[in-house]
């Protein structure tokens, strides 16, 4: 019996096939878009879709070969792509990161960044609340000074900054 968390979430073969299929889809979209633009020659030389058309074609052909090679992965060589434990670890960062990226437009980058660092430290690091608050708020304040004050690079701000008249 495999240990808890060591079981394969999915195999290398599955991953190879999915990625190859994704490449094929991308190539197909590029080909479709290029043909719509015109991928031939006209009086002015190659049309705008000429170059991307062949690029898309090469993506499709090579992804088909990669797909076929993926199908041949069997038995011993078909190892675990990622174990369930590792996948949980990866998702525990990926999901908060995605939520963080989504919140930036709404709360501004500083507030969502503070929440992101804080919750991350609390959940994954199990730190005491005062440490969490200190580092999360401290980082955002430091970044605020570095970007807004020193380098004069405006970053997205939200309701809190509006309330404090910082924008």
């Amino acid at each position: 019996m495999a240990e808890e968390g060591e079981r394969a979430a999915f195999s290398v073969r599955t991953a190879e096939l999915i990625v190859a299929a994704a490449f094929f889809l991308l190539g197909a979209i590029v080909i479709y878009g290029s043909v719509r633009l015109g991928a031939k020659w006209d009086a002015n030389g190659p049309q705008p879709g000429y170059f991307p058309f062949y690029v898309g074609l090469i993506i499709c052909i090579s992804s088909m070969i990669n797909f076929a090679r993926g199908l041949r992965i069997r038995g011993e060589r078909n190892t675990s792509f990622v174990s369930t434990g590792a996948l949980r670890q990866v998702l525990s960062v990926l999901v908060p990161t995605a939520v963080f990226a989504a919140l930036v437009g709404w709360l501004g980058i500083y507030v969502s960044g503070t929440l992101f660092i804080g919750l991350f430290m609390r959940w994954l690091g199990k730190y005491a609340w005062w440490k969490v608050a200190l580092i999360a708020v401290g980082t955002s304040v430091a970044f605020f000074f570095i970007f807004e004050v020193w380098f004069l690079v405006p970053l997205p701000k939200g309701p809190l900054e509006a309330l404090l008249h910082l924008d």
Binding site: F51, P52, V55, Q89, T97, A101, V104, M121, I135, F143
Partner: protein, 503 residues
């Protein structure tokens, strides 16, 4: 010696307090970036690039800006060795080969010697690379002034075919990844006719995909996801370097002069031909093992086995800038980001740079000498500090790095869409790395896509659509021929190995 004169002029440009201060800041930042997981040279420079925009506006500011960014690059090259030797975690892909013997040395209690050897040979490799840049780049630039569209396209072709011929990854994966880069570069405005293409009516795609965002996502977020699989804590050997260890190691190093020279040669070659620092370090490790008298002990902690990959990686990393400044063709992802910087500051990389921006070019070259000396001093004295950074728990450092990456992605175009794209590229980077799809060709294609396409279409217009234009004279024919040879190299080597095993 015109080069020496120009170089002295370059030193005069660099030697101001402001430039020297930015040099040290760059080196320090670079080493920290090289040490931290998820921040590498390429995306570290990419994140800081938008911040240099105001710097570059001042008179002489472009030189200061390139000094800052290139010193981050040197710093990161040095920093990779620290984590490899002390923690057995390669901070950068080109330090993987350094872990083979560096970590065993540290376990034996000889971390100081391993680090000194690594830094010194890095310095030596970089020095050889800079010397080659100093004396070769004016010649190549002079030569390239005569280049027309077909010549430039054949140089691009050679660059991309070299990836297929030289990379360890399966050729069709390299091809798929590279062409995806070209496809993403094609989104937005057509460089020749100005029509919109592949936007599918989405307003957000009007400006296309910015390669800086791709670099930050692929190398930054992707790397963090990969690191997480290994767990949240790093355990490493502690290290202090005192003068005695440095001096005894320096006494030992001249014994490996042959290995150093061979590795530097391999590195320079792989840097100029865009093979890159990573294959160069592996290759020279392999060569050193074959030639060394103690080759069978490699892997158990040999100083010579640290010297070889480090020399080659630095030589390659440095000489990757040669094609960038002379031809506008970067040899590595980081060189590609630096090239993007030049474009943002309003400089046109390529042979004309040596005519129109003499101060800038020679200032950059002079700063490479000084930057590497500064780097050697900084890393030799500050190792405990950098090792302490590695001990910050991942649960604290990871969200801060993601935060920095998000800021970097946003500042490229002041677009929220780019922050989301960064996450998407991050997932892609994670999957690609695990399935050995190479990332470097995708980034280079994304950077060079427009230039490659424009030169191709101009050449085709010029020749009325005859492909023969790429063989129309000796130069262009040789370049195209070499490119095709490299393209078919995986096939050729397969046939050779089949024939050998049949015997």
């Amino acid at each position: 010696m015109l080069e020496i004169q120009s170089l002295l002029g370059g030193f005069l440009v660099v030697l101001t307090w402001k430039n020297l201060a930015f040099m040290f800041v760059g080196i320090l930042l670079g080493v920290i970036i090289g040490v931290l997981p998820g921040l590498g040279a390429a995306n570290g420079v990419a994140i800081l690039l938008p911040l240099t925009f105001s710097l570059a506006q001042q008179p002489g500011g472009t030189t200061t800006a390139i000094i800052l960014l290139s010193c981050i690059y040197w710093g990161a090259l040095f920093g990779g060795a620290i984590t490899s030797i002390l923690f057995n975690i390669p901070g950068e892909p080109w330090s993987v080969a350094t872990t083979f013997d560096g970590f065993p040395l540290a376990q034996k209690g000889r971390a100081g010697a391993a680090l000194t050897a690594a830094f010194t040979s890095s310095f030596f490799g970089a020095l050889v690379g800079v010397l080659i840049i100093t004396f070769l780049s004016p010649v190549i630039a002079q030569f390239a002034l005569e280049f027309g569209a077909p010549e430039f396209f054949s140089v691009y072709l050679l660059t991309f075919c070299a990836f297929i011929g030289m990379s360890k990854e399966p050729p069709f994966k390299t091809l798929a990844s590279m062409m995806t880069g070209f496809a993403l570069a094609a989104v937005g405005t057509d460089p020749v006719t100005g029509t919109l293409r592949l936007t599918f009516g989405t307003e957000r795609l009007l400006t296309g995909f910015d390669f800086l965002v791709a670099v930050i996502g692929l190398f930054g977020i992707g790397e963090i996801l990969l690191t997480l699989e290994e767990g949240l804590e790093f355990k490493g050997a502690s290290a202090r370097i005192d003068m005695k260890v440095v001096l005894t190691t320096w006494k030992e190093l001249p014994r490996y002069w042959a290995t150093s020279l061979r590795s530097a040669a391999v590195g320079c070659f792989m840097g100029i031909v865009p093979g890159g620092a990573t294959p160069a370090s592996f290759m020279s490790y392999g060569i050193a093992r074959r030639f060394s008298r103690t080759g069978d002990k490699f892997g158990t902690g040999e100083v010579e086995a640290v010297v070889a990959p480090e020399t080659a990686a630095h030589a390659a990393g440095t000489s990757a800038l040669l094609p960038m400044i002379t031809l506008g063709v970067p040899g590595s992802p980081t060189a590609a980001v630096l090239l993007g910087g030049l474009l943002i500051w309003g400089l046109q990389p390529g042979p004309l740079l040596f005519v129109e921006q003499k101060d800038f070019v020679w200032g950059l070259i002079a700063s490479m000498y000084l930057g590497n000396i500064a780097g050697l001093v900084v890393v030799l004295t500050c190792v405990p500090l950098f090792a302490a950074i590695m001990r910050i728990p991942f649960a604290v450092i990871a969200p801060i790095i993601v935060f920095i990456c998000a800021i970097g992605a946003y500042t490229v175009n002041n677009a929220l869409f780019d922050v989301w794209m960064m996450v998407v590229f991050g997932v892609a980077g994670y999957m690609f790395k695990k399935l050995s799809y190479p990332l470097a060709p995708m980034v280079l294609a994304l950077v060079l896509g427009h230039a490659a396409e424009s030169s191709f279409r101009q050449a085709m217009l010029f020749s009325q659509g005859h492909i023969a234009v790429f063989f129309s004279n000796g130069l262009v024919g040789t370049l195209t021929g070499l490119a095709l040879l490299l393209l078919l190299w995986p096939l050729v080597s397969l046939v050779i190995s089949r024939v050998r095993s049949a015997r």
